[in-house]
């Protein structure tokens, strides 16, 4: 089976006095699509630069195929990067850009020619070989940058927000292409983005980061369904986050009522936060649901209505419903026990995972 390609062990990175990465630990398996997701300035690029070798950790260990590479210079690492600004060489044309890495490795000229044409075909830029870089659109530049990286057949490809400069449509298209490309090549991708939708759509595994820490890692479904804390729940998709209390195993109290839930293993009467996703809420006639709310706004979005409402305790509720309601009207809300996700305050990932393990 595919082993670990990259491993971070207690990696800390400081610039002068400020700690930018605070104890990062993770493992990257071969052939998967990983995403580092987090807000601006949380340290995503710093992690990529550590893997690529442009930066060195202040402390901790970075392993590649089981060997420490802390001291290995960037040009001797088997990883390639697609840079945030593409970093294509302006004095070389498309073909020469793609050939750069192979020429450095003194690959035979004939082989280079073939590999270039394969790589350009892969990114659908056949026939663009003689173009100058400044004659390319943003999307084309991005694809040249990808071709220039993958032509070297790296073990790991690092992509730093490569889609952020593209318009919505091209972006969606490239997301699909990148995902398909990764599956075809079987190369490990480490993809950086601050767009949660992009992360959910593309990844096998997501690392959610904030302020120099990895808060949660898991598959898109895991992270979406079981966010570890307020930050992750809020960052990944829309959510209703309500303060509550754990009355007993499988019983949580919020809004003055007890609700059946699927979480357990906490102290009696422990203060918690509960998350319910807007699409998990169903609208029912008033007094027939599990609780009542009053509709404040309603927005038609094509597939459904986006409704905001408030309950008797003035908690705000976001609801996505395919049924229309009336602003100002009182409606009932229905949800299932498994739609309630309970989050403890200050629970770390290991404890969280262990607790989930117990009752799943």
């Amino acid at each position: 089976m595919a082993g670990k390609v990259i491993e971070f062990r207690h990696v800390i990175k400081s610039f002068d006095e400020t700690q930018v990465l605070k104890q990062i630990d993770f493992e990257i398996e071969a052939g998967k699509f990983y995403t580092l997701l987090g807000p601006s300035g949380c340290g995503k690029t710093t992690i990529l630069r550590l893997i690529a070798g442009f930066l060195h950790p202040t402390s901790g260990e970075i392993l590649f195929n089981g060997q420490t590479i802390n001291e290995v210079p960037a040009n001797q690492r088997q990883v390639n990067t697609v840079f945030q600004d593409y970093a294509l060489f302006p004095h070389l044309n498309v073909e020469q850009n793609v050939a750069f890495g192979l020429e450095i490795k003194k690959v035979d000229k004939k082989i280079i020619k073939n590999k270039i044409s394969d790589a350009l075909k892969l990114v659908q830029l056949s026939g663009y070989g003689q173009r100058n870089i400044d004659e390319l659109s943003g999307g084309q530049k991005q694809r040249v940058a990808i071709a220039r990286a993958i032509v070297n057949e790296p073990k790991v490809l690092l992509l730093d927000e490569p889609l952020s400069a593209l318009d919505h449509k091209l972006r969606k298209e490239m997301q699909g292409e990148l995902r398909a490309l990764q599956q075809r090549l079987g190369i490990t991708f480490i993809f950086v983005t601050h767009d949660q939708e992009e992360a959910l759509a593309m990844s096998d595994q997501i690392f959610v980061m904030n302020a120099g820490k990895i808060l949660q890692s898991g598959t898109p479904v895991d992270i979406y369904d079981e966010p570890i804390n307020h930050f992750v729940a809020d960052f990944i998709g829309e959510s209703n986050i309500i303060p509550g209390k754990m009355k007993d195993d499988y019983i949580v109290t919020f809004d003055g009522h007890d609700f059946e839930c699927v979480d357990a293993g906490m102290k009696t009467n422990e203060a918690v936060e509960i998350v319910i996703r807007p699409e998990d809420l169903d609208i029912a006639p008033a007094n027939t649901g599990k609780m009542n709310v009053t509709v404040d706004t309603q927005l038609f979005r094509g597939v459904d209505y986006q409704i905001t409402a408030h309950d008797v305790n003035d908690n705000e509720w976001k609801i996505n419903s395919i049924h229309k309601t009336t602003v100002g009207q009182m409606v009932g809300l229905n949800f299932d026990p498994e739609d309630i996700h309970v989050m403890r305050f200050g629970e770390d990932e290991a404890t969280f995972d262990a607790r989930l393990e117990q009752y799943e």
Binding site: A52, G53, F54, N75, N80, F83, A87, K105, N132
Partner: protein, 269 residues
């Protein structure tokens, strides 16, 4: 439309008065003999006289040496300054001497290089005896290079400063060593700065005259010296202007050779 013309008028006036008119005057003068008759004799003499041809060769040769030396010193210097923390301050320190009058700097070197100057004092002190430093080719080249270096450093520094650092990371990422990165990425991308520096140093060096006289002791006679001689000593303005025209032509040739050529792709080397 009108306002645009109004903006441009001073510019055109300036060009006409201070660029076109003097050049036209020089061209006009170059067709007159010392006795004031219209003639092509100045050009004939220039092209047939071995003295003038030798002078031309000398000018080009020394200008080339000065430019190449200045480049050899300036490129690494600009590169190092660009790596420093307070690079703008260091650059300022290098540019500072250009604010001092050229004549003053030249006299300073006379003071340093003369028989009783500090350099010979030092040589005597370490037991190497005194030497004739002033009025040699070497001292001429040394001083001329010293004076031209800032004009070479400035454009090279600017082109290095504009270089996107992620291009260097990209090159390293693709497996290039420091040296390969330097040769394949940094040098080609700073070529415009090198060319600008070449122009800024080579062209003025062609017509140096004061330093040739004061430091070189007139042992090296360049076209600049010849022009000065014709205008101020022999009063042969026609011949002086002819050489001036030759220098202007040389200038255009250099500018043409070092012009910005857009790289139109091409084959893989």
């Amino acid at each position: 439309m009108k306002s645009k013309a109004a903006y441009l008028t001073p510019y055109f006036l300036w060009i006409a008065l201070f660029v076109i008119a003097p050049m036209a005057l020089i061209l006009y003068q170059s067709f007159f003999s010392i006795t004031g008759h219209f003639t092509f004799a100045n050009y004939e003499e220039y092209l047939s006289s071995s003295v003038y041809l030798k002078m031309t060769f000398n000018s080009i040769w020394y200008a080339l040496i000065i430019t190449v030396l200045a480049l050899a010193i300036s490129y690494p210097t600009a590169y190092l300054i660009n790596q420093l923390k307070n690079k703008q301050l260091w650059l300022l320190l290098i540019i500072l001497p250009t604010w001092i009058n050229l004549l003053l700097k030249t006299y300073a070197f006379i003071g340093l290089f003369s028989q009783n100057g500090s350099v010979n004092d030092f040589l005597r002190f370490v037991g190497l005896g005194s030497h004739q430093i002033l009025f040699t080719d070497a001292s001429f080249i040394f001083v001329a290079t010293y004076i031209e270096i800032p004009f070479m450093i400035l454009p090279i520094f600017n082109s290095l400063d504009e270089l996107n650092p992620s291009l260097i990371n990209a090159s390293r990422d693709l497996g290039a060593s420091n040296w390969q990165t330097f040769r394949r990425v940094i040098v080609p991308l700073t070529m415009p700065g090198v060319k600008a520096g070449f122009q800024a140093v080579f062209i003025p060096s062609l017509s140096l005259f004061m330093i040739t006289r004061l430091i070189g002791g007139n042992r090296v006679i360049t076209l600049g010296t010849a022009i000065e001689e014709h205008f101020l000593v022999t009063q042969n303005w026609g011949m002086g202007s002819t050489i001036g025209i030759i220098l202007i032509l040389a200038m255009f040739v250099v500018m043409f050779l070092t012009r910005d050529r857009k790289n139109r792709g091409g084959q893989i080397r």
